[in-house]
């Protein structure tokens, strides 16, 4: 499975819908301080089922939905989708027939999150299972937040074993 696209709408500063095409091997994301680059990392982790507001740099879940700006009102919904393309390696058998798998998380202000796999409503547990099958999770070593690159070095030895476990 490869990540093909990321679509964000209403999440933090991405009030306008945006779509990132990740089909090329190396994609750089640039922009001034405070422009919203790390919010993209939060959007990806949230879509993958992250439940901890601290891990999403928020104080409460409603901080994840666009809170407004000088000239715009806040909105009532955040919606993020990760689109994976099926390149026939590492695909769980139940999804072998799909050419694309879309993982979606949607949240209305003050309500619980809704999860979808290819537009079918699912539970969080199903999303986490699917992501585990394809070898990724919001806590995976392959997502490194800003300022955290040295964390694995400063961690205690027993905490480091997850790096091997994830890959096993």
């Amino acid at each position: 499975m490869q990540l093909k696209r990321l679509e964000i709408q209403g999440f933090k500063t991405f009030v306008e819908p945006v779509s990132f095409n990740f089909e090329r091997s190396i994609v750089a994301i640039v922009g001034p301080n405070g422009s919203g680059k790390s919010n993209i990392v939060d959007a990806v982790k949230w879509c993958m089922g992250e439940q901890s507001t601290k891990q999403l740099r928020a104080n409460q879940m409603s901080d994840l939905i666009f809170n407004g700006s000088e000239h715009r009102k806040s909105v009532g919904m955040a919606d993020v989708s990760l689109i994976f393309s099926n390149n026939n390696t590492g695909v769980p058998s139940s999804y072998a027939s799909f050419s694309e798998i879309v993982v979606t998380r949607r949240m209305y202000r003050g309500q619980e999150s809704e999860y979808y796999l290819n537009k079918d409503a699912r539970r969080l547990k199903d999303i986490l299972e699917f992501l585990m099958d394809i070898g990724i999770s919001s806590k995976a070593f392959s997502i490194i937040e800003q300022g955290q690159i040295g964390e694995i070095i400063d961690a205690k030895p027993d905490m480091r074993r997850y790096v091997i476990e994830d890959a096993a």
């Binding site: 009030v15 990132f20 994609v27 750089a28 690159i149 027993d158 994830d166």
Partner: protein
């Protein structure tokens, strides 16, 4: 299972021993299990000896040396089990120009099998990208994509 954990550890360690001298221009690196008899609970030590230096506790490494060591581990894992993507937010911030060049060299090598999404302010890192997304707040408080630059096909 224990056998799988051991095998995966050994393969990652083999890679780690090769990647450290590449990133540090010499020196040695190794991963050590704290308890080989109990593979289901064992922790993992990381041993790094930069070129020409004495072997010391990794907590004494500099900011840049720690970042390079962490990258070496990440790439060693990737070589054994590439994940659908890697999303790295300003991992080049603590690095000097020569370390950035080695990091980027390694990313280019692995990009054949894996996907890298790099958030960066560093011009040298931008140069290795196939695609560049610019994020702007021309309308204050609202993020948009300003441009997508496709780099020329690498010949």
């Amino acid at each position: 299972s224990r056998k799988l954990f051991r095998e995966t550890f050994d393969r990652i360690n083999e890679n780690f021993k090769k990647v450290i001298p590449k990133l540090f221009d010499g020196g040695k690196g190794e991963l050590i299990l704290t308890d080989e008899q109990d593979l289901l609970e064992s922790g993992m030590e990381i041993v790094i000896q930069p070129p020409g230096k004495r072997l010391q506790n990794i907590s004494l490494l500099s900011g840049g040396e720690k970042a390079l060591s962490a990258v070496a581990l990440l790439m060693s894992v990737f070589m054994v089990r590439p994940s659908p993507f890697a999303l790295l937010d300003e991992i080049d911030a603590p690095l000097d120009d020569s370390s950035v060049a080695k990091l980027n060299g390694l990313i280019k090598e692995l990009a054949a099998n894996s996907q890298f999404i790099l958030i960066t302010h560093n011009k040298k890192t931008i140069e290795i990208a196939d695609v560049i997304y610019g994020i702007t707040m021309e309308e204050p408080g609202v993020s948009r994509i300003i441009s997508v630059k496709l780099q020329k096909e690498a010949v």
